[in-house]
Symmetry: C2
Subunit: 121 residues, 2 copies
């Protein structure tokens, strides 16, 4: 699999995949005789996980740490679990933020019917 296909499969752009590689967030990627990257299904899965982590706000720093642990094998499994469950906790907070904002928006939108001066400074 080449980079364009990989990008389509995992959700990241080709640019971002290269950027992630350079930033040390990916395992070594094999190259073909043409020097182009070749992506295995395993790697696509990894990229897809990174996509979701990033999409929900994990920092590159955290993702780098996570990758480093994964490369180290069994030793880091406990910290890896910790990182993921911490992230899961922050998702709950983010959801509460969305909910709060939605209710503010609903009130605000409703107020426009009554009172067009609502926003004036």
């Amino acid at each position: 699999m080449r980079i364009a296909e990989a990008a389509a499969a995992c959700g990241l752009s080709a640019h971002t995949i290269r950027f992630y590689e350079k930033s040390g967030m990916l395992p070594e990627i094999e190259r073909g005789t043409d020097g182009h990257r070749r992506f295995t299904p395993r790697l696509i899965e990894w990229l897809t996980l990174l996509y979701w982590l990033r999409e929900t706000g994990m920092s590159l720093e955290q993702m780098r740490r996570f990758t480093t642990l994964a490369k180290a094998g069994d030793a880091g499994v406990e910290e890896r679990r910790q990182i993921l469950s911490d992230h899961s906790a922050t998702l709950k907070v983010k959801r509460a933020t969305l909910d709060k904002c939605e209710s503010i928006l609903a009130i605000k939108i409703a107020s426009y019917g009554q009172n067009t001066k609502e926003d004036d400074p």
Copy 2:
């Protein structure tokens, strides 16, 4: 109200408030004889709304547009409503993203018990 209090009240930092002002996302702010900004309750409300919009991912560009419309008064009320309801729709998408990621995390975390090789590249 001075900038520090305003920051505490709306959730934005003093730095960010100044930055938003310079970027044209706030109405004119009065100054005291000392040249310091004075914040009215009205303005605090406005800042609080911006805080929630930004916190949930609205771009500064959108927020600038929204402010411009608000300054224009009644004329822009329809577009303002549109901006807010568009944003509300993107919040629903974001929530779906969070949910999806949470379920991926749950599966991943569970898999660490069974199979510590799970992540290896």
